[in-house]
Point group: C2
Chain length 70, copies 2
DNA sequence: TCCAAATGTCAAATATATTTTACATTTGAA
DNA sequence: TTCAAATGTAAAATATATTTGACATTTGGA
């Protein structure tokens, strides 16, 4: 899985909530609050499905929310 | 995992290869040829890490390569 | 036409994303 | 200040992304 080059440094930009709680967003996206919490804490590497749904509900493109740390 | 609403309909736009083979792109991204093949065939839901690396090597934004089927 | 390279696919194994349950800490409004 | 709501986190279980190995089919150029 190319551990050396990229190092799984995917980051999520601060999910600023327009009234949404972490749990609300999780529910909208269809994951658990814990998963959303881990994503926000940048603890791992979600699937594109989850990212697209976050993107949709936050109305921001995936490329703006997630990137590779150079 | 919200089986009803979204149905895991992530699609990859045709990965047109500027001389790249499926295997070449797989190697660049750091996954196996089989994984790249499955992604192209829209058989599943890759991680954002893989998507960002595909995006990088194809020089197209993630949002252009992957979307949710309405 | 022929053949090597590229692609499609399958089954079993492995790695890891995601859930479940549970509890401790923080935060903000009454 | 207080208390409910929100957040942070952890361990174990489950679901699924990804690999490995292998083989069959397709494709494009010589």
């Amino acid at each position: 899985m190319e551990e050396i080059i990229i190092k799984n440094k995917v980051k999520i930009a601060r999910i600023e909530k327009g009234g949404l709680t972490q749990g609300d967003l999780a529910k909208l996206v269809g994951v658990t609050r814990q998963t959303m919490n881990l994503i926000e804490a940048q603890k791992y590497n979600p699937t594109i499905r989850v990212c697209l749904l976050i993107s949709k509900h936050l109305e921001k493109p995936v490329d703006e929310l997630f990137w590779i740390e150079e």
